[in-house]
């Protein structure tokens, strides 16, 4: 095996440590800026675990982020009515677990579909969940659920630490998955699903596992955002967020370890700068840039780097 893998992992974890320390020492505005970037990074990694590796276009991945968010607020309200409350990490973990369970339940039916049918089904599910939330009294309908006071008051540094831990977890998980049967099985499914089945890969089981794993980390990110705003509302399930995650992994390099990291950093910096400079035109410029980038680097930055590095026998994972 070529000397690869190892340094991609150290690079990503090293980068996380770097922005972690910088975020903690700098002023809270920078912490909040990095917090938003790391949140997008986690979502990109969670999408990469499923779509990146298996090639199944999941356009409704934000539904797990939303469900994670609602798990925290619903459980916070529920527990407080019984006079109890949990430490925040338990809430966040609960958010991830619920999202993963939901993925397992919904995964069986829709993972029997392929390609474009699957993409549309995920869109449908995201909308169906959002509409159902909007119409259920207990879930706060359109107004959302407010838990100000039920969870520790807003402290961006603490939230940032929790988010970094989740980011560490998702990066290490991606590395492990890429090195084990799950990773090879998923990449085989992406290349040619029927042949993968014939080569011994239990395709239906592996797709579900990846789907639930991705959902778990998206749920964790959702849990943290509810703690940040002390409320959760249907806008968390806005389809635009799925597009952001998607752009991040396409820009960075789909199905790789470094791809989601590079992609989300570039995506966030460019989008934020454009948003502040051109309040009205930012999406036009961003749209044009996205298209040119996709046509030029369909394999993303890591893909490009690999083409360059391949001559020297090294490949970025």
């Amino acid at each position: 095996m070529r000397g690869i893998g190892f340094n991609s992992l150290t690079m990503s974890l090293g980068f996380l440590i770097l922005i972690g320390i910088y975020g903690m020492v700098a002023d809270t505005a920078t912490t909040s800026y990095l917090h938003a970037m790391v949140e997008l990074m986690i979502l990109a990694y969670s999408l990469n675990l499923f779509t990146g590796l298996s090639g199944y276009a999941n356009f409704g991945h934000v539904v797990f982020y939303g469900l994670g968010a609602y798990t925290v607020s619903v459980s916070a309200v529920g527990l407080s009515s019984m006079g109890m409350s949990l430490p925040t990490p338990v809430y966040v973990l609960g958010a991830g677990v619920f999202a993963a369970i939901f993925a397992l339940v919904i995964g069986f039916p829709i993972l029997r579909l392929r390609g474009d049918y699957f993409a549309i089904a995920t869109l449908g599910i995201n909308e169906a969940v959002r509409v159902t939330i909007c119409n259920t009294k207990e879930l706060g309908e359109g107004r959302g659920i407010y838990i100000l006071g039920l969870v520790p008051s807003y402290d961006i540094k603490m939230l940032y630490i929790q988010l970094l831990l989740v980011a560490f977890a998702v990066v290490v998980t991606t590395h492990i998955v890429l090195k084990t049967k799950l990773g090879y099985g998923l990449r085989a499914i992406r290349a040619d699903e029927d042949v993968a089945e014939i080569m011994g890969v239990n395709t239906s089981k592996y797709k579900i596992m990846a789907y639930a794993l991705g959902a778990f980390f998206a749920g964790l990110a959702g849990g943290v955002v509810t703690l940040q705003f002390a409320c959760s509302f249907p806008e968390y399930l806005f389809i635009g967020r799925s597009v952001d995650m998607f752009s991040a992994i396409i820009i960075g390099g789909i199905g790789t370890l470094l791809g989601p990291l590079i992609g989300s950093v570039i995506f966030w910096i460019v989008k934020d700068a454009l948003l502040i400079q051109f309040p009205y035109f930012h999406l036009i410029i961003f749209g044009v840039a996205l298209i040119v980038l996709i046509l030029f680097f369909p394999r993303g930055i890591v893909g490009l780097a690999n083409r360059v590095l391949a001559k020297r026998g090294k490949v970025l994972e």
Partner: protein, 250 residues
């Protein structure tokens, strides 16, 4: 293991497969002994590939059963059959394009051992297979960049990595030059000696199939029309008509 005939590796028992009105396989009975190379020939559309897909569990037969070493595998999923040691190659090469040659082989390697033996042991076995199918120098190149002949050998290597007991070779010689066919024949007999494999080989290159098979089964329009040693089959009247069509005046 099998109460019936001890050395029978695979029994295709009275299998019928229909696609709408078309009867692709019609009550086909085939038996392959352990360590034997069975040639499977027949004109295009005679059901050879369909039979492979039924054996691999990709298609489910309307009637009949498939037994692997006495165990009924008719209702198993392809990956379960593969893990029971049945490897297969494809008529039109289907490599895992964006994965390297080694990774292509690692996929089946990892899934062959039921408990998923540790990485190191599997990797050594893969390197050995690469040597036999002389793909070693292309080890880290993406499968897309291989030549047709190399991709054909990769298919065989990938099937071998499953540590199979039964190998299904689907026209691995098609489109090869004379020299390349001889090379392939040599490799297949080498594999047979090295791993003691039972094989079913589908081939249109008569010279190759006749020389390598112990026994030959001939299919036409989904039915078995002849069976026997290569010599018997090549003189069989029905086989010639099936292949060459009716001779004038006969």
């Amino acid at each position: 293991m099998s109460r019936m005939n001890r050395e029978s590796m695979l029994v295709v028992d009275n299998v019928t497969k229909r696609f709408g009105g078309l009867r692709a396989l019609n009550k086909v009975n085939v038996e392959v002994k352990r360590g034997e190379i069975l040639g499977l020939i027949g004109p295009n559309g005679s059901g050879k590939t369909t039979l492979f897909n039924v054996i691999m569990g990709f298609y489910h037969p309307e009637e009949g059963r498939v037994l692997l070493q006495g165990e009924d595998i008719t209702d198993l999923k392809p990956h379960q059959i593969a893990r029971r040691g049945v490897g297969r190659t494809f008529q039109i090469v289907r490599p895992f394009g964006d994965m390297t040659v080694l990774e292509n082989i690692l996929v089946s390697g990892l899934f062959s051992v039921p408990r998923g033996g540790e990485h190191r042991k599997i990797e050594d076995r893969c390197h050995e297979i690469l040597k036999i199918t002389n793909l070693t120098e292309r080890i880290n190149d993406p499968a897309d960049e291989l030549s047709i002949a190399e991709k054909r050998r990769l298919e065989i290597a990938r099937a071998l990595a499953l540590d199979p007991q039964l190998l299904l070779l689907d026209e691995t010689m098609a489109g090869l030059t004379h020299a390349e066919v001889d090379q392939a024949l040599q490799m297949i007999s080498g594999i047979r000696k090295e791993f003691g494999l039972t094989m079913i080989v589908v081939e249109h290159v008569m010279r190759a199939i006749m020389s390598i098979s112990d026994r030959i089964v001939v299919l036409s329009e989904g039915r078995k029309i002849a069976e026997g040693t290569p010599k018997e089959v090549s003189e069989n009247e029905q086989v010639l008509t099936a292949y060459l069509g009716h001779r004038k005046g006969s």
